[in-house]
Amino acid sequence: MDDKRVYVFLALALLLIPQIPLIYSQPSIDDEVSAVMRDLEYLSSRGVNVSDLVDRLNHALELYQRGDVDGALNIIRDLRARISDLMGTADSVYLMLNIYRYGSAAAVLSTPLLVYLLLPRIYLILWYRSRRRWLVRRVKK
């Protein structure tokens, strides 16, 4: 009797074990979306414009909620391809962004120095130009 129970248990186990990879191989939408979101957060932090990609992801989630799982997964697959293309350009975008930001800040901070050097000169030029047609006459005493 005990042997029979062991055989039944083993038979059930043999039937169930091959199913385990099938049960766990289907990714949930959260797994798919979280992987995409991680990349989108990274790209966004590097200054890459990800608005379109986020809108597409939102559209995929709308499809998923309507029951169109395949449509949603197709969009997510397409997004992953586009994100992998953008990953290559993220660092250069970040570098250009920093050059622009620090360059603008340097230009703005140099304004007081330029005003100190140029304002008297410009003021003098304008002062003389406004009096160019004045007639200077020596009054004999």
């Binding site: 979280s34 989108l40 939102n58 930001r101 008297p120 002062w127």
Partner: protein, 164 residues
Amino acid sequence: MILDDEVFAVIIAITIVASALAAAQILVTGSGEPFIALGLLDGSCMIGNYPSRVPNGSYVDLCIFVYNHMGKPIYYKVIYRIGSPSDLPTNTTPSKAPAIMEWRGALKDGGETKFRVRIPVYIYGSSGMNATLIFEAWIYSTEKGGWIYSGVWNHLHVFVNASG
């Protein structure tokens, strides 16, 4: 000197202050304190005209507004629960009432969305009683690999009539 010294000093001082402020605006990144906003609107997606009495077992048309100011794109969900005033969430803990429905979406930083929802209102019981319709905003954390309650919620108190 043609240009008065004191006038020149004032001009330089104003220029220094203005350029320091401008440089700070350029250099400081980030959009301030990160937050997410959740709004509950009526069936026409406007404020007001919320239902106060709902037949038991019926549906209510409402509109949900979500705004992202987290400084990064987010994957969010709004969970709908039915409970009582004692089941209200706080800004740290979600409600213990069971979740009835949820809606998910993705929003860019600074992005907002409004979407209509049709929510069932059902209370187990015979005659009319008060109920609280609770809407909570959750955000998916890619660092922690799971959903985190944002601390933001909306609720609507209604009186649930006997159906029929």
